[in-house]
């Protein structure tokens, strides 16, 4: 049997479609970890990003730490935290959250920064409070870029959650890590294919959301020429 046939055969086994090692449950785990990590990161990134984007303070610090975090090897962070915090969900979730703060933060502050200062000034001149300015002017206008940041953050976490199987958590990465351990190539490839499909689907959903939000932020988006 060729590898392709073996992989197809792996997908058609009934065991893959039910129970704690089946694709549906592992997929749910994977999405669950991702949601948890992104939510945890958002708790830090949203207020911080709004503060930096709105006031322009601490900007250099944010840029610098974003760059530095990008250099941090994900596998190194995962294994180190796992050894420090022990087996369980806290180590991988913290690691995943840390890694997705930079893209989230960058999306928010650069989104707010990209809003025309004249528009913000005009809003203030009409008597809006700072909270109004953020909620009614800056956030809606920055939404496409914020969703762009969320998009890279989520994709980053989906990829890293796969790697996290190495430190013993569930999710789709299990197929790859376990398959590698016992040289079961069909399982490895099967798992890889599911992760890739998940990533592509999520990416497509975010692309649609980004387009939609761009339309809300500026209903004239398709004919953007007139702003140039």
């Amino acid at each position: 049997m060729s590898l392709l046939e073996e992989t197809v055969a792996w997908f058609s086994e009934p065991a893959q479609w039910s129970g704690a090692t089946g694709i549906p449950w592992r997929l749910a785990q994977h999405i669950g970890y991702t949601a948890l990590a992104v939510a945890a990161a958002a708790l830090v990134a949203v207020p911080l990003g709004l503060y930096i984007g709105h006031t322009g303070r601490w900007r250099n610090l944010a840029v610098l730490s974003t760059g530095a975090l990008r250099a941090l090897p994900t596998l190194g962070l995962l294994t180190l935290l796992a050894l420090q915090l022990g087996i369980g969900l806290s180590a991988p979730i913290i690691a995943l959250a840390v890694l997705c703060v930079p893209p989230l933060l960058a999306g928010i502050y650069s989104g707010l920064e990209a809003v025309d200062p004249a528009t913000v000034d005009a809003a203030r001149a009409q008597g809006m409070t700072e909270a109004h300015v953020i909620l009614r002017v800056e956030l809606p206008l920055a939404m496409p870029l914020i969703i762009g940041g969320l998009r890279s953050a989520v994709l980053q976490v989906i990829a890293t959650a796969t790697v996290a199987a190495f430190i013993g958590v569930g999710g789709l990465g299990r197929y790859i890590i376990d398959g590698l351990a016992v040289s079961d190539t069909a399982r490895v490839l099967g798992g890889a294919v599911v992760v890739v499909i998940l990533a592509l689907v999520i990416d497509a959903l975010f692309a649609a959301a980004q387009r939609l939000s761009a339309h809300f932020a500026d209903p004239a988006t398709p004919t953007k020429e007139r702003h140039a």
């Binding site: 090897p73 596998l75 990829a159 890590i177 490839l189 992760v195 890739v196």
Partner: protein, 225 residues
């Protein structure tokens, strides 16, 4: 610290592995992205609608490549290439794909950022198309390309360590090994060395940028009047 000193030979070997694999991936990714990105940029101003669309498709396809998670790509690569599982070329080519994916967009953005007025004035001075591309467009796109290349460089060095999971030896091997042996010092050493390597690459790129694009670091007179 003691552990690092007693194991410096192995560490040196891993640093070397990490350097050549990520270094070649960055260089190859850039070398491939430059012509492709340039073609996409050139197609964008084509009089034919179909060609203009092809330009957009090229950029979107390359960014889709970037959304493929790394570990799956690392394990799919041996099957596609037909090489042995432990061959570092698998990981190298996967990294080239990522570098290419980021860089194509970087090249297109860089070329788009070249002021049309400067290109226009160069044409009016009598630069031929070829001369203008080489001695005006390319250098002026340099700063933005460099910025993209720095992102590529940092993320490539970091991504490579995941290759240790498929058995390709590099600084990431310190993470897998340290985890299996329950030995944080080894992991920490790996983290420090990986970040340091990324920093060295970055400094080299910045230095090359200063050397090749001296005009980019001068302080401007300010004011347009």
């Amino acid at each position: 610290m003691n552990w690092a000193l007693t194991n410096y030979e192995r560490l040196l070997d891993l640093v070397w592995q990490h350097t050549w694999i990520s270094g070649s991936a960055i260089a190859l990714g850039f070398a491939l992205a430059l012509p492709v990105g340039w073609a996409a940029y050139a197609m964008k101003s084509s009089p034919h609608g179909a060609v203009r669309q092809l330009s957009g498709v090229t950029v979107s396809l390359s960014s889709v490549l970037y959304t493929i998670p790394s570990l799956p790509l690392f394990v799919i690569m041996p099957t596609i290439l037909g090489l042995g599982w432990l061959n570092p070329i698998n990981v190298l080519i996967a990294l080239v794909i990522y570098a290419f994916a980021i860089m194509v967009r970087g090249v297109v953005d860089a070329l788009n950022a070249v002021p049309p007025s400067v290109l226009d004035s160069a044409a009016a001075c009598g630069f031929s198309r070829g001369q203008r591309a080489i001695s005006v467009t390319l250098p002026l796109a340099g700063p933005v390309m460099l910025a993209a290349l720095r992102v590529v460089s940092v993320s490539t060095v970091s991504l490579l360590s995941i290759g240790a999971l498929v058995g390709v030896s590099n600084l990431g091997s310190l993470f897998t090994n340290g985890f299996n042996r329950n030995f944080p010092t080894e992991i920490l050493t790996g983290v420090v060395l990986t970040v340091a390597l990324a920093l060295v690459f970055d400094l080299l790129l910045v230095a090359a940028g200063r050397l090749l694009m001296p005009w980019n670091s001068v302080v401007s007179a300010g004011g347009s009047a």
